[in-house]
């Protein structure tokens, strides 16, 4: 019984892999939003969300 369930799960995993590849899906995407043109074009009116709030503190 477990073997048959595993076979089913395995087929689903391979099918998901095929689906993800064929639709160009990626895991862990950053957010997607709609920013109207007038907002984007206003001087100083637009910044990337992550950069604005966190910046980067890289380094060894």
């Amino acid at each position: 019984m477990l073997a048959k369930i595993y076979l089913l799960v395995g087929i689903i995993i391979i099918a998901l892999y095929g689906l993800v590849t064929l639709t160009g899906r990626e895991f862990g995407d950053t957010e997607r939003q709609i920013v109207p043109a007038d907002v984007r074009h206003s001087p100083g009116g637009y910044r990337s969300f992550h950069f604005w709030h966190s910046g980067y503190r890289g380094g060894k």
Binding site: A3, I13, G24, R32, Q33, F51
Partner: protein
């Protein structure tokens, strides 16, 4: 051939030698064995009446073997030292040969005497060892000694091709080959006579089973109703032609059976063990219906005494089988020709399959109930070894007897230059059987019983229940690799944008440099890979990016840190990161996009160079290996469980590979 007719020297009745080469004929009237000599007939004595064994054969029956016609001219019944009888039928072939057709427990063995110049090389009887090959037999078949015993001439009928002496005892050794080959060394004279042949079916002998099947069925199925000589209570014999011992269901006496007559032997403890499958129960295995006629409890001793139960199954046509219950696990057990198995060291080979030694100990009979085809006794012990290859188990039982009485037997017929054996002779037999694991619920179903106790341990030959997963895993891995390769080949990866930017020093540490790219086209349903390359050396550059579709205002944000550090520490060089970094994004709707980058870098006072490349339809090895990992998680867990299962399987063995 003209029949030779004469009068019986004992009773004067008419006797007839129909076959020219027969030596003796048994008088139908007085059972005298009449031998024909050069000048006159000789009376060799009287044989006993034949015991009814339910044989489908009879004197006068005709058949053919490998194209040669024969007629059964005679029958001799021989007594086994352990009790019981077997039949030997003598087949006169039309080409002048004699065939010996032995019948024991429903099996038939046809043999022919071999005249060999090297017979004197055969070892003396006492030098033969059970289970060991007999190298002196020429030919490709390697025979091993399956049984050493003493035969006693009891009854006889018809014409026989040798000088049968009533009551004579002689040593013999039965030999078994790997593919049903059978041989006998007859030590009634020295050097011994060699007979070789095969185990055969009635079909092989040109004898239709239907000829005698109805008669045999009628004879065998009918149980005999008897009274216990100890308590007078009624008891039935379900296999009256085979049973040597029976217990009384009323007083639990162990009784000896001799041609339907019962003799008290011993009082057994009546309530000691109760069989979970009642005697008389029936079950079908392989399309053959068996009846439970006997029950036996046996034991072995290691750190303590371990007990198990054996249920004797009987079918008149097929003979005997066993159901064995040990720790509430069950096995269906069938006998094997001893020569079909070879064992050496800690393994045995049967049908090309290797079995591992699990246990080797002295097994003792503790309790008996019902009927048995040998003279079973409580306390009887044999050497027993089990070899496993789940779901199968090979069992070897070796019983030996060193008997002074046996040692005194003549090693050859007196009239053929017999001599006395010089030292005690060991007799005995080696039996191999093949057990197959049966689940308790299947036992319940087959026997029509319920509530059998369920096992809490792992049986020596219990199959691992999830083994099938490994095969599925293999199939799925092959399928995954094929799918992965197919998608990688058919995937149309392409570069949609590439540009290198020269960045001027920033105004301050918190300042950023903003870049807007030229528009470029993105296709739907294809992932996006953005790669950044910067000339960083023990420093970092950080880019926040947006892919913006001008028409809809859709913004896909991402970030790429590029950092590369290296140095020497304790005399060893090291490095971390790289001058290139990338990020993968899910597909976006088809359209015209621009890239907005907001860049900062650690050494803001210095100019920086940043290369950006955007590709679509990029093969993702990560996804592929993630799929393989996911497919392997359950088999991995099953493998860990199997390791624990196997350790439990071997925990009661002295030959555990885990110790």
């Amino acid at each position: 051939v003209i029949p030779f007719e004469a009068s019986c020297p004992a009773c004067g009745a008419h006797v007839q030698f129909k076959t020219g080469s027969s030596i003796v004929v048994v008088c139908d009237y007085c059972n005298s064995v009449v031998a024909r000599g050069d000048r006159k007939l000789e009376d060799l004595g009287k044989v006993a009446d034949l015991v009814e064994t339910g044989s489908p054969l009879d004197v006068g029956l005709k058949g053919s073997y490998r194209g040669a016609a024969f007629e059964l001219t005679g029958r001799a019944q021989l007594g086994h030292q352990a009790g019981g009888v077997w039949d030997e039928w003598y087949a006169a072939f039309e080409d002048g040969r004699w065939g010996w057709l032995a019948e024991a427990q429903g099996r038939f063995y046809i043999t022919f005497q071999q005249t060999l110049p090297g017979q004197s090389l055969f070892p003396p009887f006492e030098m033969l060892e059970l289970g060991q090959p007999v190298a002196a037999i020429p030919g490709p078949v390697q025979f091993m000694v399956a049984e050493k015993g003493v035969a006693r001439q009891l009854g006889a009928k018809g014409e026989i091709p040798y000088k049968l002496t009533p009551g004579e005892e002689y040593h013999y050794a039965d030999l078994s080959g790997p593919r049903g080959e059978f041989a006998t060394l007859d030590y009634s004279q020295m050097p011994p006579l060699l007979f070789t042949g095969l185990e055969v079916e009635l079909y092989d002998l040109g004898i239709s089973p239907s000829v005698r099947a109805r008669e045999r069925e009628a004879r065998r199925v009918e149980a005999i109703h008897l009274s216990c000589p100890q308590c007078g209570g009624p008891l039935d014999l379900r296999a009256p032609d085979k049973t040597e011992r029976v217990t009384c269901p009323n007083c639990a006496s162990l009784l000896d059976v001799n041609q339907g007559r019962l003799k008290f032997l011993k009082a057994l403890d009546p309530g000691k063990v109760i069989p979970v499958i009642p005697l008389g129960s029936e079950a079908e295995f392989g399309g053959i219906r068996f009846t439970v006629i006997g029950f036996m409890q046996r034991s072995v001793e290691f750190d303590k005494r371990y007990y198990w139960e054996e249920y004797l199954l009987y079918n008149p046509q097929e003979g005997f089988r066993w159901m064995v219950r040990s720790d509430d696990h069950w096995n269906f057990v069938e006998p094997l020709p001893p020569g079909a198995v070879s064992d050496k060291g800690k393994s045995a080979v049967f049908n090309g399959k290797r079995f591992k030694l699990y246990q080797d100990a002295e097994a003792r009979v503790e309790h008996v109930l019902g009927e048995f085809y040998w003279k079973v006794m409580v306390g009887e012990a044999v050497r027993a070894a089990d070899y496993i290859r789940p779901p199968d188990m090979l069992s070897k039982e070796v019983s030996t007897v060193v008997s002074a009485e046996v040692a005194e037997l003549p090693a050859g017929k007196a009239k053929r230059g017999a001599r006395k054996t010089a030292r005690p002779a060991e007799t005995g037999e080696i039996n191999w059987s093949l057990g197959t694991y049966v689940k308790p619920r299947e036992v319940e179903k087959r026997f029509g019983i319920s509530d059998l106790p369920r096992p809490s341990t792992v049986a020596p030959n219990q199959p691992f229940p999830y083994k099938g997963i490994y095969l599925y895993w293999l199939w799925l891995m092959i399928a995954a690799i094929v799918v992965g390769i197919a998608l990688m080949i058919t995937g149309s990866g392409r570069q949609v944008f590439e540009r290198t930017y020269q960045l001027q020093p920033l105004a301050g540490a918190e300042a950023t440099h903003v870049i807007f790219s030229d528009p470029f086209e993105l296709e739907p349903r294809k992932n996006i890979k953005v790669t950044a390359r910067a000339e960083v050396d023990n420093t970092w550059l950080y880019a926040e990016g947006d892919l913006i579709e001008e028409a809809t205002g859709l913004v896909q944000a991402f970030s790429i840190p590029v950092e590369y550090y290296h140095g020497v520490e304790d005399g060893e060089s090291w490095s971390e990161g790289g001058k290139t970094a990338s990020v993968h994004l899910s597909s976006l709707p088809a359209g015209t996009y621009t890239l907005r980058l907001e860049v900062s870098w650690e050494r803001w006072q210095q100019p920086q160079q940043l290369g950006i490349k955007i590709e679509q339809g990029v093969p993702r090895a990560l996804h592929f290996f993630l799929m393989l990992l996911l497919l392997s998680l359950i088999p991995l867990a099953v493998a860990i469980y199997q390791f624990s299962f196997e350790k439990r399987r071997w925990q009661d063995s002295d030959y555990s590979p885990f110790s």
